[in-house]
Structures are given as structure tokens and as C-alpha cells.
């Protein structure tokens, strides 16, 4: 082997060891997505073969040497109908199959655990409900459905995990969701696939799929001290949301207890389902989202809360299942905001609850 050029040698070695042709299938949906993909590859190959055979075959049979005089033919309705209807049928099969897959990929199951992801130039910030933050990586448990709620703080980004065959755009000003159920422990690529400026190609990271026990351990080791809801609670009182949104009978704003997931009639007559996206809009653009029976006095919080802060608030309201918590928050606002008895809390001196 000594006479092979080292460059060529290295190329051959690289070829043999580092040459990927197909991405790993690491989620429940991946084999389903690949099934349709391979069906399409098969149809394409058959179609391409037919075209090549026709062109090559006719070129041999009817080349000028063999067939000096062309025979004029107008066309053939039957043949033309054939190659209209068969491709149409195949395309419609792909359409239906693709649509079924699409609805499955973009409809999260009700029991999925939710993780928030904020995209910003040029990193992904992942926020677990328990308050664990990660940058450019995402830790998830294996065999458990995970829903991601995505938003961008600046430009369009796109959250892509090729090994799971899922991808979703992170859009400024609007939540989007995606979900997956990883089924193989391992580390996979995470890419931003929507061009987002200078360091677009550095906006990459890894998705770490862990066994449930490892994941629990990881959550415990990575805690930041306060859950998103707890952060939200603090924000709720520091922005004086509870001055109006309390459970008192004379409250100027609607009670937020149990509002998440409910049907709400608005002042303009619309009925909406309260979800993350609605709450976000109601906080940032309140005059367009007034609950029936209330007056539009809420000021906008546009520009005053970061996307992370909005997520905290949404997570707080989402978990607000009884007025008791709200009362607690209300009582503590007369005093400095309290921490929830966690080690890393900012103001342990303010332990006034109960």
C-alpha cells in the first residue's frame, strides 16, 4: 500500500468508515415516514425506468439508419388517458398517505410531556417545566411522547431532528408545536434548517435520548432551583397581574383559575379555546383578547417581557388549578416575593407562607 498517495489513502479510509447513506431511525414515526419515502423512491425508479426504456428503445428501433421514413401519428386518446390517470392515481395515493403521516407528526398525543424551546440568533434555548435550561442540546427520555412548544425571539428558525424525521419552524410571535417519541437511546443531530443569518450553520446541537432512570437523574442534576411555573408566579406578582386577576368578587380582570384549556367567550363574540398561544397573545396584545363582561383596561406587555418570561407566565397559568395558589401569591405581594423553599431561591428571608 505504500505506493498509494496518502491523500487517496485517507480518502479511501474515510470513505470506508465515515460514509453515511441513510440517517438512523430513532423515533416511533421514523419507520412510518421512511415507508412512504421508499414507496416514492420505488415509484420514481419505475417511472424513470419506463421513461429511459421508452427513449432508449425508440432511439434504437427508430433511428434513421433502421427506420428512414417516419410514420406520422396524431396521438392516441387511449394512451394519453393512460398516462394521465395512472400518474394521477399514484400521486393521489402519495397525497393521502403523506397527509395521514403529516397529521400524525403534527398532532401531539394528550399525554405528551411539554418542553419549551426558544430559538434566537444563534442558539436553541430549551426550557424544561421543572426549570432545567439547556443551550443547543435537548435531553429527552426514551419511549415517552415529548411535545415541544417552539417560539423564536427574533427571526425564523427551524428545529430539525433528522433521526426522528421531524422538523418545525420556530416563528417570531407565535407558538408552534411538534412532538416525537424517541425509541432508541443515543445522541442525534439537532439542526436549525431555516436560514437565520451569520452563524446559521453554528446553530446546531444534539438531542440526547436517555433511559427513564438516566433522564430522572439528569433532571435532578440539572435543576436551576425553580420550576417555570414558580418563575411565572414571581413574574405574575412583580408585574402586578394579580392586582386585577385575582379571585375577589370585585376583581377588574377575569380569574385565571382553571382557564387553561377552557372555552372562553370574548367581548367581540368569538369563542376560543385557551391554550399557550392564546395566553401569549392575551398578555402581549390584551385589547384584542378581552373576556366577555370585562372592560379593556389591561395594558400591553409587548416589549416588557422576554419570550422566556412569557413562557414562565403561561406555564404558571396552565398549572393554576385552584384559587388557593392565587390567594397565596396575592398575600405575598405585599411583602417581598418569596421563594418556594428551594435551595437556590433568591430571597430565603421572605419565608412568610403558612
Amino acid at each position: 500500500m505504500s505506493h498509494i498517495s496518502p491523500v487517496l489513502w485517507q480518502f479511501l479510509v474515510k470513505w470506508l468508515t465515515n460514509f453515511a447513506l441513510f440517517p438512523p431511525e430513532a423515533s416511533k414515526i421514523a419507520p412510518e415516514s421512511d415507508a412512504l419515502f421508499f414507496f416514492m423512491v420505488l415509484v420514481s425508479l419505475v417511472g424513470l425506468t419506463i421513461v429511459i426504456l421508452l427513449v432508449a428503445g425508440f432511439s434504437i428501433l427508430y433511428r434513421k439508419e433502421r427506420h428512414p421514413k417516419a410514420v406520422q401519428i396524431e396521438g392516441s386518446t387511449l394512451l394519453e388517458a393512460t398516462w394521465t390517470i395512472i400518474p394521477l392515481g399514484l400521486f393521489l395515493i402519495m397525497f393521502v398517505w403523506g397527509a395521514l403521516l403529516y397529521f400524525r407528526i403534527y398532532t401531539p398525543p394528550a399525554n405528551a410531556m411539554n418542553i419549551y424551546v426558544v430559538g434566537k440568533q444563534w442558539m436553541w434555548k430549551v426550557e424544561h417545566p421543572g426549570g432545567q435550561h439547556e443551550i443547543n442540546s435537548l435531553h429527552v427520555p426514551v419511549n415517552e411522547p415529548v411535545q415541544l412548544t417552539l417560539i423564536s425571539q427574533d427571526v425564523f428558525h427551524s428545529f430539525s431532528i433528522p433521526a426522528f424525521r421531524v422538523k418545525r419552524e420556530a416563528i417570531p410571535g407565535r407558538y408552534t408545536t411538534m412532538w416525537f417519541e424517541a425509541d432508541k437511546v443515543g445522541t442525534y443531530h439537532l439542526f436549525c434548517t431555516q436560514y437565520c443569518g451569520t452563524n446559521h450553520s453554528q446553530m446546531i446541537g444534539q438531542v440526547v435520548v436517555m433511559s427513564p432512570d438516566d433522564f430522572k437523574q439528569w433532571l435532578a442534576d440539572s435543576t436551576s432551583g425553580a420550576s417555570l411555573a414558580q418563575n411565572g408566579e414571581r413574574l405574575f406578582s412583580s408585574l402586578s397581574c394579580n392586582a386585577c386577576h385575582n379571585t375577589r368578587p370585585d376583581a377588574r380582570g377575569p380569574s385565571l383559575v382553571g382557564v387553561y384549556g377552557s372555552q372562553l367567550r370574548l367581548a367581540n363574540g368569538q369563542t376560543v379555546t385557551v391554550d399557550d398561544g392564546y395566553l401569549r397573545q392575551a398578555i402581549l396584545d390584551p385589547s384584542e383578547h378581552v373576556t366577555e363582561g370585562y372592560v379593556p383596561i389591561m395594558p400591553t406587555y409587548q416589549g416588557q417581557i422576554s419570550e422566556d418570561g412569557v413562557i414562565d407566565l403561561v406555564e404558571y397559568i396552565r398549572n393554576l388549578s385552584s384559587g388557593y395558589r392565587l390567594q397565596q401569591t396575592l398575600n405575598t405581594t405585599e411583602l417581598p416575593p418569596g421563594s418556594e423553599g428551594t435551595a437556590a431561591g433568591p430571597a430565603p428571608a421572605a419565608e412568610v407562607k403558612q
Partner: protein
Amino acid sequence: MSAATIVTLPDQSTARIPKMNFLTKENGLLSWLLTGDHKRIATLYLISITFFFFIGGALAGLIRLELLTPQSDLMAADTYNKVFTMHGIIMIFFFLVPSVPATLGNFLIPMMIGAKDLALPKVNLLSWYLYMAAGIIAIYAMMSGGVDTGWTFTTPLSTHYVNTHVITTGMAVFIAGFSSIFTGLNFIVTLHKMRCPGMTWFRLPLFCWANYAASILMVLGTPVLAITIVLVALERTIGIGVFDPAKGGDPLLFQHLFWFYSHPAVYIMILPGMGVISEVISTFSRKRVFGYTAVAFSSVAIAVFGFFVWAHHMFIMGISNYAALVFSLLTMLVAVPSAIKIFNWAFTLYNGSITFETPMLYAFGFMGLFTIGGMTGVFLGATGTDIHLTETYFIVAHFHFVMVGGMLMAFLSGIHFWWPKWTGRMYPEKISQLAAVVTFIGFNFTFFPQFILGVLGMPRRYAAYPPEFQVLNVFSTAGATILGVGYLLPILYLTWSLKYGAIAGNNPWQATGLEWQTQSPPLTENFIETPIMDHEAYDYEWLERKQAQEVASV
């Protein structure tokens, strides 16, 4: 392969280029710059788009060189972003959109319908000046620092987050758009009003049908692009907030508007190319195009359906699932007319008498590559698989198979086919056949590995990538060098042929179109007397009878 050929050249010892023709009628720079002759304007366009093609091609070369290694080492990431942005803008707005319509269409449509010129010669010249003004502004933007938004100008990146020459480049695209609107308008008026006696709609060569369909798209679609660019400029300068969520705007609205033009734009680019293929396949198999009416109407069908599929660029962007459903279905429907065309061309060969001159080789290349490009479009049109494949190299490969493998092959096929008519001289056959084969091989080497990269998930517009993708990228770059040779060869031998090529005579390919029944290069007025169309398009028996008569009368 033996050299059975259809080429019939006049006796070279006595043949001369006609003294009086559109190239020699007047001399001097001004006679070109102030001309109203569609053939001269087409020549101006041909020179200019070739110039822009080589700028765009050089930028593509830089992209491929950078991607030879996984790190971003040849250029800084910012530079890379500017390079691929300018590659896209120049290739799309300054090469692909005007390529066939403004050169071949401009040159041929009046001759094909037996007219003296386009209906609005001054508008035609204005369109070239707008094109050049736009091109100069684009090059100025590139030289003075460039722009790094990607050719799609996606908001809010383009409006709030970059400080490069977005408005200058936007202005270039805006002006180029008007050039394209004027070309389209001119073709529509000409095809309605200037057809010679006997030239009914269904006697038109299919090239005219294809350009007519593309013209409708230009006239109806391009204004939307213009509006969108103005909105981006206003957003950048005075912050009107249409696309800004903080002011109640919708950033997705930009993409709806942009793709409302830019999806039909791909049909603006490909339809005229399909027209070229119809002419070439018919001529070199000596047969009427199989199912003329179906091919003609499939062009119109593509143009009509083409307007209602734009949101298939946005399946993963959070449009409603049901909207995705509708746009996916319509996308499947627009794929059908393309399939019809491919099979009709294949069956045009059936029972023909086929020869394999250069234009035909390019046309065969088109059919193979366009089939792959079209089928992979279906992968992206089906919502479920689009999620995984979109925004990766799969889409880059798909687009280049359709645009470079399809459109550029068709353009080169057309340039070779009508070169004798345009210049009066033949290009050297052997080396041009070689160029066609080299282009085909180089093309597949360059772009096929990108499909695999896309399936692996490699995102597009990345200056750096994970090392396991390197081997395929090396293949792609190697192929690009071969492709580069394939594109340089025609420039060399076509230029050579201007002086040394064999005299072509009126009709070297024995083709039936009216443009072939006049001298090469044609007179400024195209025909000595207004022709009368007394036969169907592609009537080779009529041509034989006519030639027999000419021989008898001599």
C-alpha cells in the same frame, strides 16, 4: 454510432451568408442600442444573460469549494452567506427567468407566427434596458458589500436583523421584475394580434404555447413580487410593521406573498424550456409532436394550477393542517401535466426516424433529469415526507434537477438548435456532442449526492457541516468542476463558429417551423412577403412537397 444525420447544408464552395440580414443591416453601437428589431434585442439579451450566468456560475464554484471541507475555512460564514445569496439572486432573476423567453422567445416568436416583429418593439427594448439597469444595480450591491438574506428575502431577517444591501438588491429585483412583465405582455399581445393568415391557435408551434403560458404567469405573478419587495423596503426604512408581530403584523404573510410569485416563477422558468424540447424532439424524429393538443393544454394547465400551490413551501411553518392538505392536493394535480408532457415526448419518438445531433442529446438529458426533478418534487409535495426533506439538500438537489438539469439543458438545446438560424453558421458537431455528454455526467455527479445528503438531514445554506457528510460533498464538488467544463466548452466553440462555422443555409435541420423557411440569419423584416400558414404545425410531408417543388422549379 454511425453518422446518420438530418443535417443538409448548402454547397460550401458556393454558399455565402446573405449580404443583407438583421446583423449587417446597420452598423455601429447606436444601431444596436436603439434597435427595435426583436432579433437584435434577443442578441443583446443573449450576451447579457450569458454574462450573468458566468457570474452566477463563479459564485456557485465558490460555494462548492467552501463545502469541500466540513469547516468554514475558505470564507467566513458571512461571506459564504453573501455568496449563496448572490448566486441565487443572479441565477434566478438575471438568468433563469429571462433565459429562454427573452432570448429564444424574443428571437423566435415573431418568426414562428409569420410576423415582422413583436407587437411593441419599443417596450421590448425598454425591457432590455430595465434588465441591464437591474443587473448593474445588483452587481453594485454585490461589489459594495453584498447582501446576506438568501434569495428569498425572508422577513424578519431581511427587515430587522441584517445591515447589508437589502434595499439596493431589492430594487434590482423590483426593476428586473418589470423587465419580465414587459416581455410577457409583449408576447401575449403579439400572439393574439400578429399571427399571419392561416396561423390558427392550434397551428402554433408548441414553443409559442409554452411561452404564452409563461407570459401569463409573468404578467399576473410578478406585480405581487414587486409589492412584496416594496413592503420589505418600507418595513426596513420606516417600519410600517406589516410583517412585524410586535406591531400586529404577520411574518408569515411575507412568505405567502413571496411564494405567490416565486412558485409560479419556477413555471416561468421551466415552461419555455419545455417549449424548446417540443420543437427539438419533433424535428429530430421527423414527427408531429404526439398529442399536440394535450401538450399545448398541459402548458396552460401548469400555468393555471401553478398559481394555487404556493403554500407547499410552508408546510412546516405552522399554517393550518387543513391548508396544508389543500395545497398538497393541488401540488399533486400540477405534477400531472408535467408527466403528460414527458410521455408525449417519449411517444413522439415512436415510429419516427431519429437522429442524434447535439440539440437532441440535450433534449434527452432534459427528459431524464426533469423526470427525476419532477418526481422528487412529489416527495416534497406530499406533506408527510416534506417535513423531513424540506430545508435540506434534498430540496437543493430537487430544485437544481428541475432548473439546471431541466431548464439549462433545454436552453442549451435551444441555443444549439437555433444557432444556425441566428448566426447563419453551424457549430462544430462532434465537440458539441461531447459537451452535451460532459454536462450530463457532470450534472449528475454534482447534484445526485445532494439528494442523499438531504435525506441524511444536511441543512441547506450551511457554511460548515458535520464531518460525516464530507464524502458526498467531495463528490458534489468534483462533479461541479466537470459541469463547469461542460458549460465553458459551448462558449468556446460557439464563438469559434461565428467566423469558422460551416454556412448553414435556410434550413439545416429540415425543420417545419416558419422561422426555418426564411434565410439565415433572417432579414430585419423576417420574411420577404407575409407567409401564409396553409398546413398544421410539424407537417413534415408539407415540407417534403415544398422542397420537391423548389427542386422542380429550378
